[in-house]
């Protein structure tokens, strides 16, 4: 229903956990291969149709692959940048006074970042240097580094109920579950035969985790019995880039893929595909549910478009 075009190719979109009508988009020039990056902060207009209004935007020297809103400060954004830095932006300050911090510790691209939604004091970053790092806003350096994966770590996700548990998805075809109090990973799930691009926890059942992979499938696992997936969702034509559980419904999930579609799934149902949106004309790379408004979803892709719509309606508008 609300559409906007960004100058660069979209990589990630996240709704703000404080403001219903606010979202941030991470973009990178030249499909993120080389060039600058930009973080946009948009606001939903009062009309159901129409363009998003840009509140502020921040430029970076390299592409921004992912971002996360702070759960403790309403105006803070954390950006994962392709030059290995993790940058902290304050949307209340003008761009010349930003970024507030730039943490340069990863030796390769930072591909994922997630903020702790329960304890709200820390965040983790996933990088192509095979490590996951734990950070806190008030510390100048990372608190911990988790180095066990054998290949790029593509994403990290905090468990929505357990403040110390998070999962990481990697190109070594495994998902590892970590506990920040433990020295190493507590569980290794060899989820797919191909690289695993994303993982997300179910918000209503803390033992369920979904993984999306290059093998075009999405699998839902129960960590108590991780040998066999609970569900294996097929339907995408190409690698599935992201999968997200709905914050309002236990069984509802959303995914985006290189087949340019965004799909809605219900993994408890036999015929899991609930909806399919093909509004993008290029790889669909980012999706997100709005935590505060039920049914409101957003997606972005390499076609430089950002769509915000209600699930069940047409993304491009009536």
């Amino acid at each position: 229903m609300n559409v906007s075009k960004t100058p660069f190719n979209g990589y990630s979109v996240k709704f703000s956990p404080f403001y219903e009508d606010r979202l941030a988009v991470a973009t990178a020039q030249n499909f993120g291969i080389i060039g600058n990056g930009r973080v946009h902060v948009f606001s939903l207009p009062p009309t159901p149709t129409g363009a998003l209004t840009e509140i502020i935007s921040f430029d970076t020297a390299d592409g921004v692959y992912d971002l996360a809103w702070s759960e403790s400060h309403d105006s803070l954004l954390i950006a994962a940048v392709a030059d290995g830095s993790v940058k902290l932006f304050d949307t209340n300050l003008p761009p010349p006074q930003n970024p507030l911090r730039s943490f340069q510790e990863h030796t390769r691209e930072v591909h994922g970042v997630d903020y702790n939604p329960t304890r709200r004091d820390s965040f983790v970053t996933a990088s192509w240097d095979d490590t996951v790092k734990l950070w806190s806003l008030d510390r100048p350096a990372s608190i911990r580094t988790f180095k066990e994966h054998a290949y790029c770590v593509y994403s990290v996700a905090w468990n929505p109920r357990h403040a110390d548990v998070f999962a990481s998805a990697s190109g070594d075809c495994t998902v590892r579950v970590w506990d920040v109090r433990e020295p190493g990973s507590t569980m290794i799930i060899p989820g797919h035969e191909a690289e695993i691009l994303y993982c997300d926890w179910n918000k209503y059942d803390e033992c369920l985790i979904a993984t999306s992979s290059v093998d075009k499938s999405i699998r839902v696992w129960d960590v108590r019995n991780y040998r066999v997936p609970i569900a294996s969702l097929n339907g995408h034509g190409f690698a599935v880039r992201k999968v997200k559980f709905s914050p309002h419904h236990r069984n509802l999930m959303m995914s985006c893929s290189y087949d340019m579609t965004v799909c809605m799934w219900d993994f408890m149902v036999e015929d899991s595909l609930v909806g399919r949106y093909d509004h993008h004309s290029e790889f669909a790379i980012g999706v997100d549910f709005n935590v505060l408004v039920e049914g409101l979803v957003a997606s972005t892709g390499w076609d430089q478009m950002v769509f915000v719509w209600q699930h069940g309606t047409e993304p491009r508008g009536p």
Partner: protein, 529 residues
């Protein structure tokens, strides 16, 4: 963290079973999840399977394969992980297979472990004598190798020196062997010519003398050549040094220029963004021309690491991502370093909001304190500050509060820009779970008496639901939800105020069925008018 230290072998991560969460709901609200951990000593997120012997056997066979032995330990571990072995199984397999290569720490510890285990296992095996001998040399060699690794540098140095000496000796011998025959043949050729010219044995002796003289001359010439060459090298080195110094001076000057430009930029940045951008581009171009004097770097992701030594003289501000400045028509020169790395992070304006999956418990606790805010007329665009502690709570899976919130959110997204005139619309916005830290002003006068009546006399729909004092509104089904949604969205489209109020009244009442205070507060303003 004190609670966790109580049971080290099984980390007391917060238990995830539904049973645990049910017990947690009973407990008081302020209990942190970690405190609940001791109730469930085993975390759900840990492998609780016993070690599978067949998998370990397979892993041992795999690790014993000679080709596998040559691969790095990391790859072996990764392969086994991909095959689905747990950490314990992999560790057990590594323990069982003797691993002489000390390429990683776990294997070093395994070596020590192996030495012990192999010695204990040996007595039980059939071929006792050969096997210990094999293992002893292997362990000896491994220990030697380990030692060797620690003295790696010394051996390396000795080896290099001997190599150099050998090569020197070899070249000397080769020179002797090849130069002398060449000399001799050349002299003989000269002699032959002379013989042909003069023809006499008498020339033999002078030829010998000539040979010697010629050899001496050649040696002298060679020495002088060498001396000249070394002198030239010295001269060239000196010249290079002088050039370098000139170069450095130039660079220093340019650095100063860049610094002044940078300060000028910052000064101008304070004025406007656009002006700043153009200056950046200009100076980016300018600095691009300056930096082209340096050897061009590949436009990679690690400018600092690659060019650290060369950039040591540059100021830190330009040292970071200005690797891109050069042949870049496809990107701008952007300085994305923090302008003030010690800048204080401002305090949050809003308290964090609870998540929809965090349960109804926070609704109950905050409903006691939040009624005043529920009636507040000053909505504004600042959505209410919510209770932070609510977020730390418990795992009850009720869907009550977000359902209410969801309704109010939908209305908010419709109405948020339109200033709500009537108070009751705002009342729908302010939900009971919201707790404010400030005391709200007196609720505004009731604009429409029908609202007050509606609140006090809810429609039959709400009353029909099974309601207990504790659980407010849990009986609402999804159908109810969508009906409410549709009605509210229809109302928004029509823009009718009266209906809003009714829905608003129903909303607040439906949400606050458990609370009695609302009716009390409601009654006060009614009575005063």
């Amino acid at each position: 963290m004190a609670t966790e230290s109580s049971s080290p072998p099984n980390p007391p991560a917060a238990g995830g079973t539904p049973q645990n969460s049910a017990t947690e709901t009973v407990q008081p609200a302020n209990e942190v999840k970690q405190d609940a951990a001791p109730q469930n000593p085993k975390s759900v997120f840990v492998n609780s399977e016993p070690i599978r012997e067949d998998q370990v056997q397979n892993a041992v066979k795999f690790l014993s394969h000679p080709k596998v032995r040559d691969s790095p330990v990391f790859h072996r571990r990764n392969f086994l992980e991909k095959k689905g072995l747990t950490k314990e199984e992999i560790d057990e397999a590594f323990r069982r297979v003797p691993d002489p290569s000390p390429s990683a720490q776990p294997t070093v510890t395994n070596q020590v472990g192996q030495g012990v285990t192999t010695s204990t296992i040996q007595p039980t095996s059939v071929s006792q004598t050969p096997v210990p001998i094999i293992t002893v040399p292997s362990s000896a060699s491994s220990s030697m190798f380990a030692l060797a690794r620690s003295r790696f540098q010394w051996y390396h140095a000795v080896f290099a020196v001997s190599l150099l000496a050998a090569s020197g000796a070899g070249t000397a011998i080769w020179v002797k062997k090849s130069m002398i025959p060449r000399l001799k043949s050349w002299i003989r050729w000269v002699v032959m010519e002379e013989k042909n010219g003069d023809g006499g044995i008498t020339n033999i002796k002078p030829t010998l003398a000539e040979e010697a003289a010629a050899a001496a001359k050649a040696a002298a010439a060679a020495a002088s050549d060498v001396a000249k060459a070394s002198q030239e090298m010295m001269i060239s080195r000196y010249e290079e040094k002088v050039n370098m110094e000139k170069f450095m001076d130039l660079m220093q000057m340019q650095v100063k220029e860049i610094r002044s430009m940078g300060s000028a930029i910052k000064h101008l940045e304070g004025r406007s963004d656009k002006i700043e951008r153009t200056h950046l581009v200009e100076h980016g171009g300018h600095s691009g021309s300056i930096t082209n004097l340096k050897p061009t770097y590949p436009n990679g992701h690690k400018p600092e690491i690659d060019s650290h030594s060369a950039r040591s003289s540059l100021p830190p501000t330009s040292a970071d991502k200005s690797a891109p400045p050069h042949p870049n028509s496809y990107m701008d020169d952007i300085n994305d370093q923090p302008p003030n790395p010690n800048q204080q992070i401002s305090n949050p304006r809003l308290a964090p909001r609870s998540k929809p999956w965090e349960g109804a418990y926070q609704a109950k606790t905050s409903s006691r304190g939040g009624f005043g805010s529920a009636l507040n007329g000053e909505g504004g665009s600042d959505f209410g500050a919510q209770n932070n502690e609510a977020s730390n709570q418990v795992d009850a899976q009720s869907t009550v509060p977000w359902w209410q919130k969801k309704n109010s959110r939908i209305t908010e997204t419709e109405y948020v820009e339109a200033k709500p005139g009537s108070t009751t619309v705002v009342q729908t916005n302010e939900q009971p779970p919201i707790q404010r830290t400030w005391v709200p002003p007196q609720p505004p006068p009731v604009a429409m008496p029908e609202a007050a009546e509606a609140i006090r006399r809810p429609k039959s729909k709400k009353e029909a639901e099974p309601v207990s004092q504790e659980t407010s509104g849990e009986g609402f089904s999804a159908a109810e939800v969508t009906d409410e949604l549709q009605r509210i969205t229809k109302i928004s489209e029509s823009g009718g105020e009266v209906e809003e109020m009714h829905s608003g009244g129903q909303e607040t009442n439906g949400g606050l069925l458990g609370g009695l205070k609302l009716s009390e507060i409601e009654e006060e303003p009614v009575q005063s008018y």
